[in-house]
Amino acid sequence: MGEYLLAVLILAVIGVFLGCIIGIAAKLFKVQTDPRIELVTELLPGVNCGGCGMAGCADFARSIVTGENPPNKCPVCSQEAVSAIAKALGIEVGDTVKKVAVVLCGGDKNQEKVENLYNGVSDCVSASLIAGGPKSCAYGCLGMGSCARACPFGAIEMLNGLAVVHNHLCVGCGKCVEVCPRNLIKLVPTETKVHVYCSSPEKAPAKRKVCNVACIGCRKCVKAAKEGQFAVKGFKVEVNYDSDNLPSEEVIAAAACPTGCLLTTQTHYEIEKNAGVEK
């Protein structure tokens, strides 16, 4: 019996002793740290798994506060926890107009002449560095999927040699916009239904020579739509994305676009999807 008591006694003594030392040390050696780091550390799971690539949660918290890492890099945190951290640090971005990306080109494999026998890295930026890329249209989608790879949300699909954005997946982060060497991708208000799928500023005959679905600047859509819904820029027409009344779907029927580059997002997607199946 005494044995057990002795063990408990010894452990208790040692425990109290060590506790006191640590307590005193903590007081003696107190260091002022950024209180936010502690706050974030508390919000993190605290399992010190190292899955974020940092050495434990406290280090990760420090990196969040200094802006080295985004909070969502933690593989353990739930979405709520991530947003709680973001809220605590005030780093969330209050985007008023929700935007999605759109690739303004309709020149898929069937529509646009793919000119040359390209031999090299399958990446748009790389391809555009070699004689401007293998497509005859110098302003068309190269179809090698740099944007799709850049998209962290898998919202861009390569269909029939053309990048197509899935609106329900796109959060409008703009990573694809940056990466496209031909600047075909635009961030537009989510509610936009209709786009002119052409970005080439060339004259109509030059465009038609290389592509069947180029905007030839006939302005039928401009006439069919209300004032200010479309804007003529050079030799092509663009949807006026800044305006308050975006063109409705009826415009397409009314305009009867002769080349078929005026499309809704949905029909554009379906055309490309089916075109890929046929071939």
Binding site: G2, L6, L11, L18, I21, I22, A25, G56, R62
Partner: protein, 202 residues
């Protein structure tokens, strides 16, 4: 001769033959967790060496002077050996905590280099392993301190080797199902096979 071979056995054995990670399979958690980047692995290695050495020093002192021989207290004579694990845990945990607190205040650069890894090590089984192993082998305080240091060195060797391989694997196209932890474990397995060649050195 015997003195030299004794220390040779402790050192070479701890680093190569009975490598904590690749032969004893202790401390696998930080081995896999903190081996993604070479620089973090190096920091972690430093911390492990430091803690292992210090922990073996303290625990072997505790073991040799408190637990090994029966002690008499309040008229009871008891062998306190059964308290070994509990005591080691308490001692190591508070030791690491103490070191962390002091480092933060006293040496900011050292804290930044090692300190952030310290919380990861408090419960590392390699540290506990080094304490219990030296107790089991009946090492003196000096012996076990050396043993602790070289065990840490062995851990560092394995960790740094492994992280450099993993950095290279980052650039290769590992097939989908094997990406991440599974390829890491396979690599560790092959590495362990290579370390098997050292068996019998001491």
């Amino acid at each position: 001769m015997s003195e030299t071979s004794h220390y040779l056995q402790i050192t070479i054995g701890a680093v190569l033959v009975y490598n904590f990670v690749l032969a004893r399979f202790l401390g696998i958690c930080p081995f896999l967790g903190v081996s993604k980047r070479l620089d973090t692995a190096a920091g972690m290695s430093g911390a492990v060496i430091f803690v292992m050495t210090l922990a073996s020093l303290i625990t072997s002192t505790v073991y040799n002077y408190l637990l090994k021989k029966p002690i008499t207290l309040f008229g009871h004579t008891t062998n306190l050996d059964f308290l070994q694990i509990v005591l080691f845990i308490v001692v190591i945990a508070s030791l690491v905590q103490l070191v962390e607190i002091m480092l933060q205040k006293l040496s900011s650069p050292l804290y930044r280099a090692l300190g952030i890894y310290l919380p990861l090590i408090t419960t590392n089984c390699a540290v506990m392993g080094v304490a219990t192993l030296s107790a089991k082998s009946n090492y003196s305080v000096l012996d076990s301190t050396i043993f602790g240091f070289f065990s840490g060195l062995g851990f560092a060797l394995a960790l740094i080797l492994f992280s450099s391989i993993r950095e290279r694997l980052e650039l290769s196209q590992v097939p989908g199902p094997f990406q991440g932890m599974s390829i890491a474990l396979i690599t560790a397995g092959i590495l362990a096979m290579a370390f098997l060649g050292f068996s019998g050195l001491c």
